[in-house]
């Protein structure tokens, strides 16, 4: 098409020149990518939860089986409060990014990270050792479900923490301002998603056996 290329040897139209070179929220392809990732991850957790109830309703009337005690609620509820609280500073970080307030952004991100890390620490250092004394993942199908579902969620918290670290590093490098902050938005969405999944995990693993 070289013969015709001279024809477009032109200056861009006025509309093109007025288009912004930055984008956030639903204008940004990256934002949509995160939405789709969350959709597919929801299906992953949905499949695990469905498997839990499938196996529960196909097995003996006593649940948990084999004399495993019904899970106690005290520690899980404390962990829940900590994790759900962490959504607040993360939300504030998102707001700070949209307002271009970099100092507030760094602080809120740090606060959210600490709460998330406490949750994960409690799961790994307190919750699991207690449970492992009662039953393990190879004890029976109930044990497999318990550790796989909570472990998948814990793994997602860990990934969220790593993304948080990355976002904090970029915030300290001064990469974000009022116009450019899709990374912060995507981290925020992911973190809220992990918190919402915990509602489902809590209801499935800890509350439903008492019903």
């Amino acid at each position: 098409m070289t013969t015709t290329s001279a024809r477009t040897d032109a200056t861009p139209g006025a509309e093109e020149q007025s288009l912004p070179h930055h984008h956030a929220g639903s204008v940004s392809p990256g934002w949509w990518g995160m939405v789709m990732l969350i959709v597919t991850e929801s299906m992953l957790f949905g499949s695990l939860v469905a498997s839990y109830f499938y196996i529960r309703f196909r097995s003996a009337p006593v649940w948990p089986p084999d004399g495993i005690p019904t899970p106690s609620l005290k520690l899980p509820l404390i962990m829940s409060v900590i994790l759900w609280t962490s959504s607040w500073p993360v939300h504030m970080a998102d707001r700070a990014a949209r307002n271009g307030n970099v100092r507030a952004l760094r602080l809120w991100l740090g606060a959210g990270f600490i709460l998330g890390a406490i949750f994960l620490g409690l799961q790994l250092a307190v919750e699991y050792p207690e449970k492992l004394a009662e039953f393990g993942p190879t004890t029976n199908a109930y044990g497999s479900l318990f550790y796989t579902l909570t472990g998948f969620h814990g793994g997602h918290v860990l990934i969220g923490l790593l993304i948080s670290l990355w976002t904090q590093m970029r915030a300290w490098q001064g990469a974000f301002d009022k116009q450019r902050h899709v990374t912060v938005q995507n981290f925020t969405m992911y973190w809220h998603f992990v918190d919402i999944v915990w509602v489902v995990v809590l209801a499935t693993i800890y509350l439903s056996p008492s019903l």
Binding site: T8, P29, W32, M36, L44, T138
Partner: protein, 627 residues
Amino acid sequence: MASVAERLEGIWGERPGLITWLQTVDHKKLGFKYLYTGMVFFVFGGIESLVIRAQLADANLEVVDPETYNQMFSMHGTTMMFLFIVPVLSGFGNYFVPLMIGARDMAFPRLNAFGYWAFLGAGIFMHSSFLIGKAPNNGWFNYVPLANSEFTPGVNIDFYVLGLIFLGFSTTAGAINFIVTILKLRAPGMSINRMPIFVWGELALGLAVVFAQPPLTAALVMLELDRKLGFHFFDSTQGGDAVLWQHLFWIFGHPWVYILVLPAFGLVSMMIPAFTRRPMIGYIYIVVAEMAVALIGFGVWVHHMFAVGIPQIALSFTSLSSFMVTIPSAIQVFAWLATLIAGKPILKTPMLFVLGFVFTFVLGGLSGVMFAAIPFDLQTTDSYFVVAHIHYVIIGGSVFPIFGGLYYWLPKMTGRMLDERLGKLSFWLMFAGFNLAFFPMHISGLLGQPRRTYTYQEGLGWDIWNLLSTIGAFVLALGILITFINWYKSMKSGEPAGPDPWEAETLEWSTSSPPPEYNFESIPAVRSLHPMWEQPELRRGPQRPEDGAYLLASGHETLATSMLDATPQAVVEMPHESPWPVTVTVAMMVSFYGVLFDSALLTAGGTVASMAAVAGWFWPTGETQET
């Protein structure tokens, strides 16, 4: 000042060479890679099928031993289902979706590269099982309890399970990329009701994968935990449940069948207007029908399990939805037929494949409706009747459109036409061979021949039908071989295609063949569902800014537009070639081999290395601006 084309060439050009081959993020090069790699796996799967047919040509043969036979039919199904059709359709999609919507690349070019490498890695991973003679041997849907470690020890099944988990990364990455590209990067004015039907098909593929892949991934992870670490998900002696595998597999598996055919349907809806010289009749009905098929496809999985012993109410529901899915399928068939009748069909090779597709797919659809009737299904479950049906649907519904697509689109991709005479010969051999191979299976199935058995006794009335099937399979293979020869010849000495050999309606024909690295000199404003037919300025060369075009010639950029109306919103900076996608894949491969061979060191090392590579991927380089 340099011309627009020269400036774009300077911005988008990649240096040729091995390094670029490994690092490229160009959707066209990746599309080619998907296509070639998918075709190589197609040849592998084809050879496996010929071994199967040779073994079954007559009663009591011993062409291969039973264990090899099991590996052959398992890898034949797995390869064709996972490593051939979707990758080839992704290859077409990668190459043509940006060209059809007027974009300069996919939304996430590096993720696109990763999708390809992970597909190749998973394919190599699964096929490396042949090197130690331990290929998967439990069929492509790998039912437990046979697949539990107690009944199939050894790494055969682990190759299957880990390979498919690996492949899931590729499929999901590709799907998300298609969805976002289609929603956000369309040319200005290409509102959602001006999207070519092939683009709709790829969108349906993307959405179906996003929802359907996770149940399979969950099932695979659970099975591998059972096998490697002694978990009990599918172990009914410890409270687990074997039928759970079937549910999860088919919740994925049936939508997957539609994933295989919907983009192929879209391809057909591109070729029919080009060769009947008129727009598709019922655009809106076809689009709604495609989406309806994708949706209803999630409600029919239990029809793969009618013979398992499922509560009556679930059977009735699935039977109902299985009958229901025929309605949108029929709408599409009637739209194709109406367009064919209303237009003046030109019987070039792509069109022959389209007609072959319609004929075959309708036959496959008919036997599908028969299965929706539960009493009939109970009689034919696990017989060759099912084998006949699946091949009519998959070869009819996907492979014929793919081969038609090769004849239709390779001229755009290589710049050279394929030979018509060889093309027609190839079609007729494929069509005749296919029907000779698979129609007799309906009969041998009704006569009671079970699928997946190593051999059979004489005197059961099956011999002649099996012999016919075997002859047909080799004729089909010959037909396929002729297209490959044609392909090779056209690249050496084919007639130059020119930008628009078919005078077709969509935007990919407005740029040169093969397209330049930046796709379009200007991103055109679209004012029609058939831009090349109704916007005469597009035939005269790149659209000018006065006509609404966007140049974006000052950076490595493409245009983001709004989701429904495609009004321009922002200029998006696109990433350059990157060494990280292939690095992440290699590191992941190490960790998958680690799991396979019970090496904690390899697993941990590979995982840490892949996370480090992801960090390298996103590490700010200074050339791309932070978003």
